[in-house]
Amino acid sequence: MVETGQAAAAVAMQTFERIHPVEFQRRFLGQNTRHTGREFNQFRALKVIKGAISTAQGSATVRLGNTTVVCGIKAEVCEPDVKRPTAGYLTTNVELSPMCSARFRAGAPSDEAQVASEHIYRLSMHLLDLTSLCIESGKAAWSLSADIVCLKHDGNVVDAAVIALVAAIEDLRLPRAEFDSATGVVSADKEALGHVDVKKRLFPATFVLVDDLCVVADADDAEEQMATASLLVVMDGEGKLVNLWKRGAGVISREAVEQCVERARERMSEIAKVLD
């Protein structure tokens, strides 16, 4: 009798979650808890696997709870920009396809993907010194294209994407290249692989104001759907801030922002431990 009662209650709860997702979340937030039982400032388990893609010059897979993101970096040789002859290129592209969530449609990148791509591109400028990609000034340089593909979207893709990019750049091995000025050909020695100089490591932490009620760290998909504001804090390895990005009309007070930054500082060491 008890088992049937419990089973029936579980089914009822799942149905409630499906039909009234907003009300379902509010039941928990009203009691000052999260629906998964996590603490408000608790991030999900982070797992980073470097070198997941053998065909890419650098790659990493990041799992943040159920959110899974893969970053693959391909390197090509190209001519540097006339205005910046000693700099290479690093382009980042975030792909949110129907595979990761029913929210996305196939075809042109959605607004969410484009905004994420642009934001991560701006952050990536802190990661690498592009002049370290130069092979021959004005003639040849490495062009890195980082494709960040979300395989499973359970909230907070941005954090996972940033960590994946950092890990993939650290995993990146480029062959030593030489430019022959006589023939104009770049030859690369596949046996001599070297890492690129990482200027700064980036440690992201996203906090979300759920339903105007409370600020939670590392929101999952259900919480993100009810977000009225989000705050991304990115720190470098020395505890300096690289980015503070608050979006959405919900109010996150100055005190709350300071608390989030402090939590982001602790998060920095949590991520560093996993990356190393």
Binding site: V115, N243, L244, W245, G250, V251, R254, E258
Partner: protein, 226 residues
Amino acid sequence: MSRPDRREASQLRALNCSLGQSNRADGSAQFSAGNTSVVSGIYGPVEAKVYEEKLDRAVVEVKFRPDIGAPTTKDKWMESAIRNTFEREILAHLHPRTLVQIVVQLREGDGSVDSAAINATSLALVDAGIPLKCMVTAATCAVLSDDTTVVDPTQEEIDAARSTHTFAFASGSPTGPLYVDSRGEFTMDEYNHCYDLCALATERVLAFMRTAIEGKVTKEAKISAA
């Protein structure tokens, strides 16, 4: 330390705006701070496409066009910034199943473009008569390599800065900013200092906007009375 245009550190550039220039749009405003000039046009509330309409509120759509070239992800980012800022300040529940389209055109960019775009949109929404919770004002400041903080930086100052910070505030809401974009390498102290400077700067922008709107309303009242 003197700025290239001899301004004080906390001095804004000369602000200029003109409302209602576009006779096709329901409302429009051109806002400029020094050489940075942005035009914002509002179409709405208009009919929304069936697949994007919301049953209980108006949908807010933003298009940002750069000064030169085709739109890129950079402009998509700007669109998202403007939409996130205004989505809930517009009283969308008064116009369900409609669309409010905000089209922002960058005419000339010389630094602090994002705050100019937000300010232009605020004015354009008032010109269009879209009901708003409050006025939204924005300001940018930059921390330079010699640790001085300057308000309303030009592109030249931004290129040389260690960090740039854009804040948007809702008038009459002192608890927190509506929108924050701080980038570069900075400490929390620098961030807080920039926050305070921008809060003061937005108050000045708000006063400027109030004068501009009052001027327009008085002029219209005279014309309709005559």
